[in-house]
């Protein structure tokens, strides 16, 4: 009276996590930052997120279809959604709808699927998409709104929808009247015009330690990032060395010449540094895998960001720095293999 059983390979305990759950947690961690973003810059960003997710899923589904991959599994792994949200968070809130389409086309179709899909892409898809639209449409991509509390939003929800879909500002005023440069942009223009950092800082767009509004958004991103660290979704190496290198080098520059170099706090809390440190440079697929490699990767992103901000042609350099280090990642990985047990 023997009984037969189906067999399987050890281990026989099911896995504790999944790609989908990892991606979902990244999305949860972004929520506080998104909320803060909304608070200061109006509801435009929500529309951009919705647009980007829609386009991302459409392109993803199309590419999966062409590549004959299972649709359900891959659409539900949420990787395309994360790409879309990170991309949207880099956009000025009122850019026209086709920016999201173009960006997602390059992110999902070119940077992700043409390189082999999930797990095989060399470059961070969100950053590829962002950099493409940034380079192609520099003017549109610098039309930021002033950071204000919700009671004094310049552009409301309905106006935002109309603006995004018509490409025309829905208000009876010109763009110049509403738009405002980002703090980093202002800093750059100011320094080029021969002003000192202190003089520039008197502008209303600067807050207590970073850009007005930007500093708090960055704080909420950091909160989400810390939660991810605690959940062990991301490792501490990349954020630490990335922020660390920016602070250290920024401090050095600031000490040498505080007239033409902003303080490290300014660097940290303006632009995409915190978002980049916790959410973009920590992308496992395009980063390094060993701990030592991650330390180097983060430091590299930090240094490049600072260099581009200081000497490059763009006010912020996180996206470019991440892409540059993406290129270096395989090489770093090759030379940072840990010593295994007993070797």
């Amino acid at each position: 009276m023997t009984r037969t059983f189906a067999t399987a390979d050890a281990p026989h305990i099911p896995a504790t996590s999944s790609v989908a759950s990892v991606m979902q947690q990244v999305l949860y961690a972004l929520l506080p930052g998104i909320a803060a973003h909304c608070w200061y810059f109006g509801p435009g960003i929500l529309l951009q997120i919705v647009l980007a997710i829609t386009f991302a899923l459409v392109f993803e589904a199309g590419m999966l279809r062409i590549r004959q991959q299972p649709l359900r599994t891959h659409l539900l792994d949420f990787s395309a959604v994360v790409t879309a949200v990170l991309f949207a968070l880099c956009l000025p809130p009122l850019v026209p709808w086709w920016i999201a389409m173009l960006g997602m086309f390059f992110a999902i179709v070119i940077a992700k699927h043409l390189y082999g899909g999930l797990g095989h892409n060399v470059f961070n898809p969100a950053m590829v998409g962002y950099v493409v639209v940034l380079i192609c449409f520099p003017q549109v991509m610098t039309q930021w709104l002033p950071a204000t509390a919700p009671d004094s939003w310049t552009v409301g929800l309905w106006d935002s929808i109309i603006t995004i879909f018509s490409g025309q500002l829905a208000l009876p005023v010109a763009w110049d009247a509403v738009s405002q440069a980002t703090p980093l942009d202002t800093l750059r223009t100011g320094i080029n015009a021969g002003l000192t950092v202190e003089e520039i800082h008197n502008s209303v767009i600067f807050g207590d330690f970073g850009g007005r509004g930007w500093e708090w958004i960055a704080n909420w991103y950091a909160l989400g990032g810390l939660w991810l660290l605690w959940r062990r979704i991301i490792s501490w190496q990349v954020p630490l060395t990335m922020i660390g290198s920016v602070v250290l080098l920024g401090l050095l520059a600031y000490l040498i010449d505080s007239g033409s170099n902003p303080s490290p706090m300014q660097h940290m809390f303006s632009g995409a540094l915190i978002l980049g440190a916790f959410f973009i440079a920590t992308d496992p697929v395009t980063g390094c895998t060993s701990n030592r490699g991650r330390l180097l990767f983060g430091a590299g992103v930090g240094v490049f960001t600072l260099v581009i901000r200081r000497w490059g042609g763009y006010p912020d350099g996180v996206a470019f720095a991440v892409l540059l280090m993406n290129m270096a990642a395989p090489l770093i990985d090759r030379y940072s293999v840990p010593r295994y047990y007993g070797k």
Partner: protein, 192 residues
């Protein structure tokens, strides 16, 4: 003008000397490609490729006079390895040279053997032991399964038997169950 001629001449001389020195300093001994190819061949020495041994075949491949698909014992993995090494297209095994099959070893029926030494002379790797009028036997661990001892045997006392294969853990199938597996099955050429 004379300076130009002089300096260019000097440069040419120096570079020439440098090249000459490098040619001596970094000279490669034997033809390394032949060695590398030979490393990838199974060393069965069976001659199915049409050459009297693996090394001659390696030399022929290196010289471009033989294709990489003439070695049945090496099989498709061997062809793949050769293609990788030489940067060539992967080919199907040429059926004229034979079929890929499991590795075998020769076994001499010691009752029938008359001790004629013909198989000993035919064995390319000296894996058969014996003397005239004495019973012969195959050194199991050294036999490459080349079949070359079969034709000369006057009493047909040699048979080829399959090499015993030990159990080994199986290679995981791509994607555990369900739809992904079906996708792999329906796309034999598809990777990822």
């Amino acid at each position: 003008m004379p300076w130009d001629v002089f300096s260019i001449g000097l440069l040419a001389t120096l570079l020439g000397l440098g090249l000459g020195w490098a040619a001596r300093r970094f000279r490669v001994g034997a033809d390394p490609v032949v060695e590398q190819i030979n490393q990838l061949l199974p060393q069965t020495q069976c001659g199915q490729c049409g050459y009297p041994g693996c090394r001659p075949y390696a030399a022929a491949i290196a010289a471009g006079t033989a294709e990489i698909n003439q070695c049945p014992p090496g099989g498709s993995t061997g062809i793949q390895a050769l293609a990788d090494l030489l940067g060539k297209e992967v080919l199907q095994l040429n059926p004229e040279n034979g079929q890929e099959r499991p590795r075998t070893i020769a076994l001499i029926d010691e009752q029938t053997c008359i001790g004629c030494t013909l198989c000993i002379q035919a064995c390319p790797v000296d894996a058969i032991l014996g003397a005239a009028k004495q019973m012969h036997t195959v050194i199991e661990s050294e036999c490459t399964g080349c079949d070359l001892c079969l034709p000369p045997c006057p009493v047909d006392c040699i048979v080829m038997v399959e090499r015993p294969v030990n159990w080994q853990p199986s290679m995981p199938v791509l994607g555990r169950p369900s739809s992904f597996q079906q996708w792999v099955d329906s796309n034999p050429a598809g990777h990822s």
